[in-house]
Symmetry: D2
Subunit: 416 residues, 4 copies
Amino acid sequence: MSTFGRAFRVTTYGESHCPSVGCIIDGCPPGMKLTEADIQPQLTRRRPGQSALTTPRDEKDRVQIQSGTESGITLGTPIGLMVKNEDQRPHDYKGDTMAGFPRPSHADYTYQEKYGVRASSGGGRSSARETIARVASGAIAEKYLSLVHGVEIVAFVSSVGNEELFPPTSTHPTPSTNPIFLKLLDTITREEVDHPDYLPVRCPNKEAATRMSDKIAEFRDKKDSIGGTVTCVIRNCPVGIGEPCFDKIEACLAQGMLSIPATKGFEIGSGFGGCAVPGSLNNDAFVSSVPVAPSQSGVDASPDAPPEPITNGAKPRSNRLKTKTNNSGGVQGGISNGAHIYFRVGFKPPATIGQAQNTVDFEGKEGVLEAKGRHDPCVVPRAVAIVEAMAALVVMDAVMTQSSRQSMRDALQDRG
Amino acid sequence: MSTFGRAFRVTTYGESHCPSVGCIIDGCPPGMKLTEADIQPQLTRRRPGQSALTTPRDEKDRVQIQSGTESGITLGTPIGLMVKNEDQRPHDYKGDTMAGFPRPSHADYTYQEKYGVRASSGGGRSSARETIARVASGAIAEKYLSLVHGVEIVAFVSSVGNEELFPPTSTHPTPSTNPIFLKLLDTITREEVDHPDYLPVRCPNKEAATRMSDKIAEFRDKKDSIGGTVTCVIRNCPVGIGEPCFDKIEACLAQGMLSIPATKGFEIGSGFGGCAVPGSLNNDAFVSSVPVAPSQSGVDASPDAPPEPITNGAKPRSNRLKTKTNNSGGVQGGISNGAHIYFRVGFKPPATIGQAQNTVDFEGKEGVLEAKGRHDPCVVPRAVAIVEAMAALVVMDAVMTQSSRQSMRDALQDRG
Amino acid sequence: MSTFGRAFRVTTYGESHCPSVGCIIDGCPPGMKLTEADIQPQLTRRRPGQSALTTPRDEKDRVQIQSGTESGITLGTPIGLMVKNEDQRPHDYKGDTMAGFPRPSHADYTYQEKYGVRASSGGGRSSARETIARVASGAIAEKYLSLVHGVEIVAFVSSVGNEELFPPTSTHPTPSTNPIFLKLLDTITREEVDHPDYLPVRCPNKEAATRMSDKIAEFRDKKDSIGGTVTCVIRNCPVGIGEPCFDKIEACLAQGMLSIPATKGFEIGSGFGGCAVPGSLNNDAFVSSVPVAPSQSGVDASPDAPPEPITNGAKPRSNRLKTKTNNSGGVQGGISNGAHIYFRVGFKPPATIGQAQNTVDFEGKEGVLEAKGRHDPCVVPRAVAIVEAMAALVVMDAVMTQSSRQSMRDALQDRG
Amino acid sequence: MSTFGRAFRVTTYGESHCPSVGCIIDGCPPGMKLTEADIQPQLTRRRPGQSALTTPRDEKDRVQIQSGTESGITLGTPIGLMVKNEDQRPHDYKGDTMAGFPRPSHADYTYQEKYGVRASSGGGRSSARETIARVASGAIAEKYLSLVHGVEIVAFVSSVGNEELFPPTSTHPTPSTNPIFLKLLDTITREEVDHPDYLPVRCPNKEAATRMSDKIAEFRDKKDSIGGTVTCVIRNCPVGIGEPCFDKIEACLAQGMLSIPATKGFEIGSGFGGCAVPGSLNNDAFVSSVPVAPSQSGVDASPDAPPEPITNGAKPRSNRLKTKTNNSGGVQGGISNGAHIYFRVGFKPPATIGQAQNTVDFEGKEGVLEAKGRHDPCVVPRAVAIVEAMAALVVMDAVMTQSSRQSMRDALQDRG
């Protein structure tokens, strides 16, 4: 299905070579300032070929708001977004011997089997262009979350191939107990991630960024590709977000992330590493949130709160606790506890490589497939914006659902 | 939300200490034989305390079908399932000093913040009893999938703490290329997983099972707990299952798995390991499915097909391809390709431990929490049945969605 | 589908002769007092055979809360409700010559065609017992709406056959302009509807009730049946409820009402009659709501407001307007305007009649069908409770959706 | 919510004065021929001002397919449709004294209360331009239904004010028993409805069309407006469509119709009239469909079947019955029985009239509102295309849902 979310609903359309890609966002709160300028920056961050950009102004992938705003203010009605495709259906693969070959680890074969028909050019619906609508709608969700709750969502590259930002050590088999990692989660910003020192890899550590950059270059030169991981932190997420049972916040994040093309894994908090340690180490003991001076220790799970308590129109909660550690990744029982939500997403090496691959065509006849042109040897630097967008969509949807519950409950208490 | 699935919809209810837990299954195909006997075995496999069972017949957690069948045949109408709770609201925690303490890494605190109220006993809605409804409904999905498509879903324990069934080696950093692992995926059955040699751990290798069993005993004796991972394989999944974009089959599996209590991570196919290798290694080249003799090689991704081609009422597909390797885990572009779907799920160490824990009460006052009684030091052996159930629900839902598309398309071609 | 609502979601199960009927209510606000005693009265009102009751206490159709409350307070988790069927699968129609005959204007034939199988006894899923779950869940919605918004939902019988409570006149071709009708909408209560003078018909006018009662008796004596209409008013519905486009409040009401067994029509406000008059008469001009003394005129669309303005945690709206007339039935552009929402629902004569009917069996062989036993010659008196319940479900769902929007918007303005 | 349907899902966007209106259709079967030419005719039929058209080619409201097709074939992926607004946000109502007045019986006031903000020009989201997306997507649904099932959906004007096509008579208080009406349902086509004799009213009877046309002219000249009704028939609808309980086919039709702007009522089959007659008259007795010569009697509910039995890939049903009469309107128990589905929809007189109206502004200050320019005095002639579109969306969605069930069941029987 091409719809994500229940309360903040994003429905997307578009193939790689049709007239446009876009989406409809249904459920955006009315009265919020919104123009294309709020959306464009993340679209630009997700664009391919960024490291090779030489012209300062890039006019590509411009989003156009079709509806749902007037004079730069949201009306509460569906927001239509459109991004024109520049490369519209120009290809005729007839006569191209490669056209009969489903590309290995691409979706050509499965689309053909599923639909009995498929777009002739590029990836069609499975193309990465589909993520444009995710990034555009995520930017809108994020604007609301930032304005009202001070939510900050920042993703960065945590590994390329086996080059890791935080390689496992005997003390810290998983970064979730590593104070340097936890400090990074406290402070990292998108501006930092995009610092020239860290580009084009978007790994916020110069030494690691260099290792990763070299690794990508190595595989590019071999006409091969390489995978990697993206780590994302959500700060200031309101407490109480996420629905028990099937729509736990981590379950929704997992769906959101695994729905991004090329993803292979998701882990939250201490993740798979936390599954190898004892409960006595992994449990997050509670501490009072009142007497603790804000953020004085690296392992303090709860960051500076936004300036004033935000209660979304609801009665203020009196006694919020914090946790001493944050192996849970900000979530307990599927519901946010106010600590940073952080998680890691694995991306496979891009399937399109310049090397020759022995494979068969749709009829089962053997042949050799060799991709022409330049191909992206590693997607994680661009994926950063997509991971952030999907995180924003998940959180916004959960905030709206909880907002309804909370206001319904508060109204009840007023009548108590 | 307490509903899972769009076409095969399961809605669950129940806290740990209310009169009953159960669910309504809406969308089950009519005309299928179904009695409680189809559902009970998996419920029994998920029961706690199995290793300590001495009585051959265990009358607990008996499921009762409330509606949707007549004379043992499904009517196509909603199936109501009910399992009585034996321990109904007997506790009055007033006066119990522990009651004021939210248990670390449990959902007590987050439920209280979310709802402003919570069940006084046990985990309430966050209790593992909630998974009864998942297992019961999964058994129904599974029966259909097995009857019609020969689908086989088998999960087993792949690690406890750092004791792994397939420890990473330099040749096989991830099991997805290990022929022994791939052979296991081809052949493993639930009967084997439940073989006395492998119980109570449910790891299908005697040596590994012993290591794991010792590890669990060690933590039990320390009044501590330990996490682990479960690996699951889905065989004979029809080609073309899974919806592009947000409802990719791996995205739905990820949501399903991360919605199980205590889960921390999900990876499909070569998973996080596959994100560290080059595309030239990770890509799954296609081979013709016709000339290859069935299953003669361990790395043959496609198992013995069911006796006759099953086309779900649709035109038979003429030329199915296979893949030489299966690092994709049976999914490309979010859509099944006919190879085994396999994935791994990480479970954290149980949060309830007998050791004393320094923490604070709801008011922020410090204290020491010490759980009384016997606690399960490791959940993965029981989780096997829950993972299988959630996998069945995901696949069934996707099969129904595709079945609609395929029959609509076939009808169109008949008229073409 | 057996689920109604998006935010306040009711999923039902049950056939006429299975062990129980019931439902799961997902999304009920936490912290509300709720016991079976809140639900039972409406269940009792919908029971068949009420006019013949002689025993004061009727122990039938007792609802049992399975989950979602503790100590009589809602937890915010799914509420499971169950009502046992007393007549469980006792019939074996083998040998019964009538069993092969699909009953005319019943669902026997269409269920058989749809599912290829059907319940052998009674109406199965199409039985009126299915409405038990509607009435039970509606009672919960209604309790919230009443507590928080002072919402009052009252339905009554407005016609039986051609006996009408407000027969069309040349001055008032439709009751919507009739001051007596409008006054009735202002004041009618369930207690009044159930006044002995108006029972068993539930038409709140003694003369009309007698005409209707005679009409029903006439058709009962002829072993025939007769249809009728139910009119329903919703008072104190918050302004701003209902979603533009497809989920207009009248569209949701129409779906809700037409989903009740035996319904054939729905009209809101001036309804079909309003479609025959000029816009200059049908338009509802606005008047200020401030200077007008409360409820001093019969045509005052807006009733006494609840004691204090209720804003659901949101900023108070400063300048509410009223309408001079209420031909719109309280809805403009699909959104409530604060005036009474009122509508009429048509119920066909019950299909089961004692008279002999010439028809054919499932094989197409001609025969005569004659129903045995006593049959309800008119359903509208009982339908009153079902119409009220469906109205409550529609309004509650819309209130929750708007509540989310409003609290999201208010939070935005706080930050503005 | 701006989405309609579960399987064939249409999500719409657009205000009256934003850059474009449009929709995304998710779930359209792949492999169907589709170009703009399939969609444009119905868009043209719904355009305003048709009676005044003098130029043969009208270039307005041109639909553009954005995605989901290639080379004129549907891909099975979301179909994006866009229609540019020609009149984009040109108005600045500042200084216009009318701007402060919510128009009586329009949505200005309720939108303002609901959202706290509203589009300054025209009706915004509540404008009739919103129906463009309905008509466009309905045309796609209809194409499939026509190709595969021979479904024919035809709507026509059945009354304007109190001028009726079939005025009630003592013999036929409701048209459902009138042979002339039933014959019309058998045979009426869109071509006929658009016959010059019946334009611009679209009432397929010259005498009645003239009466209606005169009535409209009368109200136009009085600067007033007038309502009316549209009757719609769906022929060749497959048996077994519609889901029991909440999604009965008539419940979905009722929602669809009442979601069209300006609608006030819906009735199916014998409708409200059927609620005034005895069951012995209203019941539809079954007859065998085999021996009866096709369509030889006017009251034969079941029309000529399409040339060959269409089973949607499913096992053919052996013994379809028909009904002797069709007071049920083709639906029993919420499920189609193969007879014509027919229903009537009431449209109120347009709220915008040239006459002066005494009303108040948003602040409650009294004033006189007088609409400038030309206004449509009656919407029913244009509404015909919208009613047909919504009917197509409802039927298509139900067909897809049943198609899934049927193919799942057939697959089960193959394995039985």
